[in-house]
Every structure is written in structure tokens, then in C-alpha cells.
Amino acid sequence: MKGLLLKDYYLIKSVLYIILVVFAVVGIGMSFLTSTWVLTVIATVMLGMISVTTINMDRNSGWKKVSLVLPVSRTAVLDCKYILYLLLSGIGLLLGVILGVVASIIKGQIDYQSMMLFVGISIAMALFSGSMTIPLTFLLSEEKSMLALIIAYPLSAFVFVGAALLIDNKLLACGLVTIVGVLLYSISWLISRKQIINKDMT
């Protein structure tokens, strides 16, 4: 698996500067328009998305097929993507929190409740969307996986908004959605591992 992760590291390095530019533009703009803590959501989701992007890059470069004939199990190839997603989302979250703190200090106000709320939103959004986009991008054709990418993020936001409307305590709603997100991500990982073993992959 080390080799597979190294391969993804090289791939990510090649697109990282584009992501950072997009993040800077979107993040700075959004943080002025809304809360500074929105940076955590943007950073977490954007960096997590790179893991999904590498699946499509693998497909287009022919590596996906090659990886399945390498001396690594099919499940290891899949595990690599789930682990990478968690790693990148985690880095994004950390980066977002640091930037949020810096931005709050510059603005002269640190609202810890907002910070906790946005950290929860970030984790929930990342886990919800990841639990959909990773398996669908990996197991389905490129066209169908594009559809999954389009649907996953609004659907994740919808679940979160739905929970926030149903439960008055926003932090509690956020916590519950995060727990559901963790469960969903774990279930998605387990089901995908079972699916990939017997799936025709050409």
C-alpha cells in the first residue's frame, strides 16, 4: 500500500497548486461574506475531494487497470483511497481551523461556539460526501461517477440543514450528523470492500 499512497502523493503534488489557488480565492471571499470559520468547511471538503479526483486520474491514465494486476489486493487499492480521503480531509480541517483562528484574530473576535459548529459541519460534510463519492467513483463508470460527484455535496448539505431544522440545539444537531457521518463512511468502506472483490473491473 505504501507504493500506492506514494503514487497518489505524486499525483496530488501535481495538482496541489491549483487547489491552493482556488482555496485562497474562494476561501477569502467566503470568509468575508459569511463567517471566517467557513474556511474550515471549504478546506476540508476541497482537500478531501482531491482523493476522489485521483480515482478519475487513475482511470484516465490507465493506472486503475494496472493497479489491479499489481501484487496488492483489490481491497488494498480501495483502502488506499478511503485512507487518503481521511488524511486529506484531516489536513484540510486543520488548515481551515488555523486559518479561521488567524482570520478571527485579525477581525478581533474568536467565537468558539461557531468554531465548534463549523468544525462539526466540516467533518459531517466530508464524511457524508466521501461515503458516496469514493465508492461511486471507484466502482461506476466515469459518467455515472460524475453524477455522483454533482449530487453528493448538495445531498450532504441537505442532510445537515434538515438536522439543523429538526433539532433546535445546533451543536447537538451537528454532533449527531457527525456521528451519522462516521457511521455512513464506515459502512460505505465495508460495503465497497465486499463489492470490489467480485466486480468486473476493466
Partner: protein, 285 residues
């Protein structure tokens, strides 16, 4: 172990295509050419051998094992048609990645092969020509102690010079008696140069699996008119095809046919002609 690969009764069904009881083997130390028109089932067979698709029936034994584990996969070198590796990679980066994937990776061999094939180590693969990409894929396949090479249409779309280079590399690899190659191609002239055996797949079925020399030296093609065709013993005919001005008839024993029909023109036959006759002709009775 006499055979590097044994395929027996391999069956796989799709909506509009069926691989139907494909059976053949790749003896150790030999090169087996898998021929057939596009869509005949060559790639499906190779995909099943590599475990990319699940077979419905039959068995596949690779290097002595029916369920190839990672140890066996280490000994299989695979080259697919088209792109094999991320195009932003340089061969240097690819070497680092492969070193962490294959336990048996031989960096020295890989770097030597890059040198031999005149492949740069610092340029991204996207700047390589198709021939260079194919040579790179072969260099990777030869750098982890492969015992069995599997190439799916590896020479298609390449110019004759590059194809010849690649065939030389394959011939060199097959000099070792523990090494074997399964190569699929619809460029039959390439296989005529290097293959020991020819397996012909047509509409998902193996039509024949024979020694190449037997096909080239023993098979023959009778080119005759309608009257001569009618006079032929039908049991001598494998397949025949009616052309505009003549009949073409494939026979299994050219020498015997020359004796039996001394007044008939009987030529030697190329694998290309055999394939065409099977695909476009009609079976004898």
C-alpha cells in the same frame, strides 16, 4: 510445472457476446500468440486470466495456482494497450513507486532497460511517443523477475521499426526456458515472427491452438475454379471461400494434397490468410 498458464473451459457471458469454453495453454519457455479479429474475445480472455473479470465457468491456472496470490502476481508482467501509467510521472518517479509495490523490484534492471530503450528518466511520460510508452511498460514488466509476460495488443498502432524492437525484446526474454509469453494481437505478421504457438479465437471460441510451424509448413491454400472445387474430396476441406474468380480452400496437409491433386495449385498459407478464411469463409463438411 510444464505450463505457465492453463485455461480450461473458460466461459463468460455479456449481453451481446459470449466467451464460450475457451481452452488452451502456454507451455513454459514458449511464446503463445493469441489471434482473432477485434471483438473475438482476446482481451476478455486476458482480462479473465488477470482476474480483472470474474469467470462463470472453467478454470485458469497461472504459474501453478488457480487463485493467483501476490507472490504469483509478482511473477506476472503485464502490458496493456494504450496508457499504463500516470502521464505526469517521470520514469524516475515510476521507479520509486514500483520499488514500494514489488518486493522483487530490480531497480538496477529497470534503469538499465531504460538506458537500453533510450528512455529519459527526467521527462514526464506524457512527452513520450506511443512506442516509448510501450517500451516503458515492457521495461516495468521485465524488472520484477517476471516468469510470465502477458501483453494485450502491445504492438498495435506502432510503426514497423518500433514493433520490431519490441519483438526483439520479447524474443530475448523468451530465451530463458522458465520464461513464457502470452501475447494477443491482430497483427499476425508480428506473431509469425516470434510465436511458437498460435491460438485463434473467433466469436468467443477457440478455433485452433497449434504450433506455428505446423500452420506455416503444413497448411496450404488451394486456389481453383468451380470445377476443380467440386472435384475436391470435401473431407479435405477445412474452410473455403468463394472469391470473384476463384475458390480458396484451406487444407491441413499441403504435401499430401499436392500428391492427391497434382494438377491443382496449392500454395503455402500465412496466418493472416488462415484467419481470413476462417472468419469469412465457410466450414468444410
Amino acid at each position: 510445472m510444464n505450463d505457465a498458464l492453463i485455461i480450461s473451459g473458460l466461459t463468460k457471458t455479456y449481453k451481446d457476446f459470449m466467451l464460450n469454453g475457451v481452452s488452451f495453454s502456454v507451455p513454459c519457455g514458449s511464446i503463445v500468440g493469441l489471434i482473432g479479429e477485434n471483438g473475438a474475445g482476446k482481451s476478455t480472455t486476458i482480462n479473465a486470466v488477470l482476474g480483472l473479470i470474474q469467470k462463470e465457468a472453467g478454470s485458469i491456472c497461472v504459474l501453478g495456482k488457480e487463485q493467483p496470490d501476490n507472490e504469483i502476481k509478482e511473477q506476472i508482467g503485464v502490458v496493456f494497450d494504450g496508457n499504463n501509467y500516470p502521464e505526469i510521472f517521470s520514469t524516475r518517479k515510476l521507479n520509486r513507486v514500483m520499488k514500494d509495490i514489488y518486493h522483487s523490484w530490480e531497480e538496477h534492471t529497470f534503469l538499465n532497460l531504460l538506458k537500453k530503450f533510450s528512455l529519459p528518466t527526467d521527462k514526464p511520460i506524457k512527452q513520450f511517443s506511443k512506442g516509448m510508452k510501450m517500451k516503458l511498460a515492457i521495461a516495468v514488466a521485465l524488472s520484477h523477475n517476471s516468469k510470465l509476460l502477458i501483453l494485450d495488443e502491445a504492438t498495435s498502432g506502432l510503426d514497423p521499426v518500433i514493433r520490431d524492437d519490441i519483438l526483439d525484446i520479447l524474443l530475448d526474454f523468451a530465451q530463458d526456458e522458465t520464461h513464457s509469453i502470452l501475447i494477443s494481437s491482430h497483427i499476425t505478421t508480428d506473431l509469425e515472427k516470434i510465436a511458437d504457438y498460435i491460438v485463434f479465437i473467433h466469436e468467443g471460441q477457440v478455433v485452433f491452438s497449434k504450433l506455428k510451424d505446423e500452420l506455416i509448413e503444413q497448411y496450404g491454400i488451394i486456389k481453383c475454379g468451380a470445377a476443380q472445387f467440386e472435384a475436391l474430396d470435401k473431407s479435405d476441406i477445412i474452410v473455403y471461400r468463394k472469391m470473384d474468380y476463384e475458390w480458396q480452400v484451406l487444407v491441413a496437409d499441403r504435401a499430401a494434397m499436392k500428391k492427391k491433386y497434382p494438377k491443382t495449385l496449392i500454395d503455402s498459407v500465412s496466418i493472416d490468410e488462415i484467419m481470413l478464411l476462417y472468419v469469412k469463409g465457410e466450414r468444410g463438411k
